[in-house]
Assembly symmetry: C2
Homo-oligomer: 352 residues x 2
């Protein structure tokens, strides 16, 4: 489980606390760090490790996800996308070949973004992404790719995928140092496209693989996509699933052959007052917990559960104290790491 | 130096981190904890120590400061009060005998407050304050008092002081357990009233003393008030100065004979991006620090300065990451504690 440190911080925690959650690898965001503080600032600290005081491995994504999140993802809001999957698509959701999102512009050589900070134009293509990632100095970089929207037509995805494959080669050619570089398999919900992408990315000589993009509308379709893709990738190289990792997903994706995955769920939910426990999710903002003398999870050995009880954490969340978010983030990351550690043990014993 | 944990949390820090800053005692707020989560909730954890996982001493103030902050302090905003001290008083700032603030009502037996949360009426007098503080279970409680506004007339202060003295006796009479109880000396800027108050509070048999209220408009007047007051208090008992403690004040108030003092400066400024260092205050939001590879204070041995540099903390503050506030709070508290520890050493060596 790879916690997300978008802006070079696992939100609310110091790096010491993050290490204390059993975290082995983190993933930072190339696009956001390019904006703030800029890769030149990080390079002056000789990379992210020294910059943020984190001695364990670091990944940086390529910025490709922002083509979706600041592009079609912004145009087509989530509610509309859900309706689409319920079989009530509105015509203007269709993303067909040649169409561009409102706020960014996708070209053969890369993408013009508008800075969410000051609106200035930012161009990132595979060359730029790798140059930024090399300055950020992570152990594992990702190739620049387009993450396509779930409402894209097959024709759009075919064109995008061909471009993503050219970008993959350019990403590889742009690398100048010794950092590992993972290629990303795209192809959306179409079996032939996923197979094509897996075969091609596998051939290019990356150090490992990312499975990215739209994984379909159901758990079932995610499973199918992994089953189509993973057998075509060199078994000796690590496979990372990008941006997935609910507690329900984790056993399935590991069983399918995924080695690592990043997700914002433990940290994101912590900041909304939610704890993950062996008895399910707890919403600490609820007054029920004000008089609850148990640890968040009585079986958990994290610093939060060893020192604090639900009554106090519930008080902190209800009183809008930042310390409450810190304690919940610490617990949730520990809980997810422990959850995965247990699966690892089961794999070693041959029972998964 | 007593950090302020208004709502039973030194804002942004866990109790382990707070202990790591060298903090020996904290002060929590009776009024705010009465509102949230309520003393009954804290009592179910057998007091604040277990509730917040803090094994060192705890003080609770009496709620008397809120008579000012939610009363005249709210009516007379700070800008107006400053004009008053510049010799341009506006007539409606004068607080004369019999006048009541807009939002609370001060009676002989206590004060009707309006809850800042839901507007409901809350009555706290000396009996209620001690009952709440006993349930909160701090090591040191304070007697219920009125903190008078700086714009009060002598007649107002005389009437208030007589009431505060009656409340002091009632506070003492209301105590049922073994917690220490400190009496508070009031009397504003008037020498005869401060002396009267010190003599009377000294006689009542408290375990220690607080010096409270309006300490005048200048450093000089604070010094005078301490010089009038402290010689009249039993030297064998601890003296606490309420709500004062800039780095400039600290050597002066300690030299005057103050043993402990609480102040929000280190934590409050941290949350606004300010670090206190041996080279003065630094505003980490400034882009100057983005390329500064030094620790916040190169001479400081706190966990923040040992692990992180200005470049990273500046990035975190500019990127609005909570982790930045955590790191600054940790440093500022350590820095203040260290500052006071150095003064303590000098006192032991006889050079202060």
């Amino acid at each position: 489980m790879v916690p997300v440190a978008t802006q070079a911080s696992a939100k609310t925690l110091t790096s010491e606390m993050l290490a204390g959650t059993g975290t082995q690898v983190i993933i930072a965001n190339t696009f956001h760090l390019h904006l703030k503080p800029g890769e030149a600032v990080v390079a002056k600290s000789r990379g992210l490790h020294k910059f943020m005081n984190w001695r364990r491995p670091i990944m940086t994504d390529s910025g490709g996800f922002q083509i979706f999140s600041l592009g079609f993802g912004r145009d087509l809001n989530v509610g509309k996308i859900l309706k689409y999957f319920e079989g009530r698509p509105s015509a203007n959701l269709k993303v067909a070949e040649g169409r561009q999102p409102n706020s960014i512009k996708i070209l053969e050589t890369g993408v013009f973004f508008k800075s969410p900070i000051d609106g200035r134009e930012i161009f990132i293509g595979p060359r730029e992404s790798i140059a930024i990632q090399e300055k950020l100095g992570a152990d594992i970089m990702f190739a620049f790719d387009e993450c396509t929207p779930p409402t894209a037509t097959r024709a759009y995805i075919e064109a995008s995928l061909a471009r993503t494959h050219r970008w993959a080669q350019t990403s590889l050619n742009s690398r100048t140092g010794k950092q590992a570089l993972f290629g990303i398999v795209q192809g959306s919900r179409f079996k032939p496209l996923r197979e094509l992408s897996a075969r091609l990315i596998n051939r290019l000589g990356f150090d490992g693989f990312g499975i990215g993009g739209d994984l379909g509308s159901s758990k079932n379709s995610m499973q199918k996509i992994l089953d189509w893709t993973l057998p075509l990738l060199d078994e000796a190289k690590p496979r990372h699933l990008l941006g997935i990792g609910s507690l329900e997903d984790i056993p399935r994706i590991i069983a399918a052959g995924i080695d690592t995955f990043d997700c914002t769920i433990p940290t994101h939910y912590a900041r909304r007052g939610i704890a993950f426990t062996s008895a399910g999710r707890l919403n600490l903002a609820s007054a029920i917990f004000l008089n609850d003398q148990k640890a968040l999870d009585p079986r958990c050995q994290c610093p939060t559960c060893l020192g604090y009880r639900r009554t106090y954490i519930s008080h902190l969340i209800r009183a809008r104290e930042i310390t409450g978010l810190v304690l919940l983030t610490q617990h949730n990351l520990f809980y997810f790491n422990q959850f995965v550690a247990t699966l690892r043990e089961r794999i070693k014993k041959g029972i998964l």
